[in-house]
């Protein structure tokens, strides 16, 4: 779709953003670095949801559950002395497997129904986190989650752990880009645009639907695996509908189905609470109002806004003349 000029611009823009992400934290206080780390972690989860929702067209209001599954896995295993790397794999695989199961209702229902089913599922997972005290510590949660050491280097300092999160995000993005370029990516888009036609062309829509859920969930698990050592504390209240909803918003605000959309959405989601901090108790009220206003004026999100602008002014893009 984009000519060579556009893609070169894109590479330059990516390089600039990467440089900023590497350099800026050197100038920040620990709390700023914490926020940036949180941005990277939530971006991983949102990118996963964007695969499920944006590319494969399957609504999910349960992404927080997978972040939770990942976070609890790492919290439980690393506090038992497991190495982080191994716990990370367990987190991803477990979330992938549970996500696969959540895909089954999606084979039956779509749209609103699916939104509610995934919402119900998310609530169930929350109840398990809260009620199974022997495993999860109940409402008290799990404390003192260690930060990992890599190659003898401790990631205990905020900056070191931030770079670890950033590398994780970069790896996730590269793998996801490769996935979307592969035949699987094409099949996911086909699944979103016209599942019946896709099926008649030999695309096993059943398998791809389950995979869309499982891979998205797996990335949620990866995000959770970094969330636990970042916050160094997990409790059920962190993985409620509110987080699922926030992740959904990151995807929508960033623009559903745009590759870098969730990263932009995550900036808003991480910074907005900070900007609204002065309002104290009114924060969530204002947040809700902002969301409704945003939906009314810009339902396709920020990237959608940019895209709309670009389509109005095609002279600037390198599109081939028909």
């Amino acid at each position: 779709m984009n000519g060579l000029g556009a893609s070169r611009n894109r590479i330059v823009a990516m390089a600039v953003v990467a440089a900023v992400l590497i350099v800026v934290p050197l100038l920040l206080k620990p709390y700023g670095i914490y926020l940036l780390s949180m941005w990277a972690v939530l971006s991983i989860a949102a990118v996963g949801l964007n695969l499920t929702l944006g590319f494969a067209g399957q609504v999910s209001l349960a992404q927080a559950s997978f972040v939770g599954i990942g976070a609890y896995s790492v919290a439980l295993l690393t506090t038992q002395g497991w190495p982080f790397g191994l716990a990370l794999i367990v987190a991803a695989v477990l979330a992938f497997a549970v996500g696969w199961l959540l895909g089954y209702p999606a084979l039956r229902v779509q749209g609103h129904y699916l939104a509610f089913v995934t919402l119900a599922f998310g609530t169930l997972v929350f109840l398990v986190f809260r009620n199974e005290e022997w495993l999860t510590g109940g409402i008290a949660g799990i404390n003192r989650i260690p930060r990992p050491s890599l190659l003898g280097l401790s990631t205990k300092p905020p900056l070191a752990f931030y770079y670890l999160c950033l590398v994780a995000l970069a790896i996730v993005l590269v793998l996801l880009a490769a996935l979307l370029r592969s035949p699987w990516g094409r099949a996911f888009v086909a699944l979103r645009e016209n599942p019946i036609r896709a099926m008649s062309l030999g695309v096993d829509t059943r398998a791809y639907t389950l995979l869309a859920f499982a891979i998205g969930a797996g990335l949620g698990g990866v995000a959770g695996a970094f969330y636990a050592p970042l916050v160094q504390f997990v409790d059920p209240g962190s993985f409620t509908l509110l987080l699922s909803f926030n992740l959904l918003l990151m995807v929508v605000v960033g623009g559903i189905g745009f590759f870098f959309g969730p990263l932009i959405g995550a900036v808003v989601a991480v910074l907005l609470p900070e900007w609204l901090r002065f309002t104290e108790g009114l924060y969530l009220i204002l947040y809700a109002v902002l969301v409704i206003v945003l939906m009314a004026f810009c339902p396709s999100g920020l990237s959608g806004l940019v895209e709309r602008f670009r389509r109005v002014a095609p002279a600037t893009s390198g599109e081939a003349q028909p």
């Binding site: 609504v59 609103h112 939104a115 929508v252 969530l284 109002v289």
Partner: protein, 292 residues
């Protein structure tokens, strides 16, 4: 046995409340394809309108109910439609899903901030006096809730099937294009549906609050329960929503008594997922062929 009967009767009472919320939910879906993720908060809010009328305006309980219901019909019916659903529905379902979730959050937080985070006592229309029938002790309150809800639902059914306006509303819900051709004032019919939903949730709110107390977080589970009840019965039918409400209400009480109170709120969720997986058309619904 006596214990079981008692559980069944309280199940019928809670079920009746769920049925009200589920019926409103179904009506909205039929008329305007609006799935209201804030329905739980819609059931929570009217009780606070009533409390506000009592505390701020110093009205009696009876007049406060009148004011509370009227306010609910304006806010949760008229304003909800005009300010939120109308501008958003043309963008497809995703923005509306997000906006109604945000609305739920807004109502919840607004109540918490302006009233209290604590559960507030709410006066009962009928006091919870025990009624002895043989070895079974039933609560007069449970019985009255059931009676009120059944009267409301029966009145609704009569309205929808016997009055001209009601029948026109149903015709609009079934085939909007045809209704437009026949000169039905479609947008007014849809507005009536929103007002009806608001009235139903107000009634549910006034009936449920004496039992569970008025609390900002009451809507969290009620919304999912209303949806579950609507699905269990078969999404597209008012009869289904009523049946679904009772099924969920009874199952809810039985779980709490025999299985686990901790997982009481899990039951509707499990029921919802099971129904979707094994009988997506609901208990009363007919299965539809997927058209190509």
């Amino acid at each position: 046995m006596a214990g079981l009967l008692q559980l069944l009767s309280s199940g019928l009472a809670t079920g009746a409340i769920y049925a009200l919320a589920a019926t409103g939910f179904t009506l909205l879906w039929q008329a305007s394809a609006t799935v209201n993720f804030a329905q739980g908060e819609f059931v929570m809010l009217p009780a606070f309108f009533v409390l506000a009328s009592m505390q701020l305006l110093g009205l009696s309980f009876g007049w406060s109910i009148v004011v509370g219901v009227a306010l609910s019909i304006v806010v949760l019916g008229l304003l909800f439609k005009r300010l939120l659903v109308d501008p958003l529905s043309r963008y497809g379902f995703m923005p509306l899903v997000i906006a109604t979730i945000a609305l739920g959050l807004f109502i919840k937080e607004a109540v918490k901030t302006s009233f209290s985070a604590e559960a507030l006592p709410f006066p009962a229309l009928v006091p919870p006096i025990p009624v002895h029938m043989g070895d079974v002790t039933l609560s007069l309150q449970d019985i009255s809730i059931f009676v009120f809800a059944v009267i409301a639902v029966a009145a609704l059914q009569l309205f929808l099937t016997r009055t001209r306006t009601g029948r026109t509303m149903q015709a609009t819900a079934q085939n909007r294009a045809l209704a437009v051709i026949l000169g039905v004032p479609v947008s007014r019919m849809i507005l009536y549906t929103f007002l009806l939903n608001a009235a139903l949730v107000s009634l549910a709110s006034i009936l449920v609050s004496p039992i569970y107390l008025a609390k900002f977080s009451n809507g969290e589970s009620l919304g999912l329960i209303a949806f579950t009840a609507a699905i269990v019965g078969g999404f597209n039918q008012v009869r289904g929503a009523i049946l679904g409400g009772f099924v969920v209400g009874i199952a809810d009480n039985l779980t709490a008594a025999y299985i686990s109170t901790e997982y009481r709120s899990a039951l509707p969720l499990v029921l919802l997922i099971a129904i979707i997986l094994f009988r997506p058309q609901g208990l009363l619904g007919r299965s539809e062929e997927r058209t190509v």
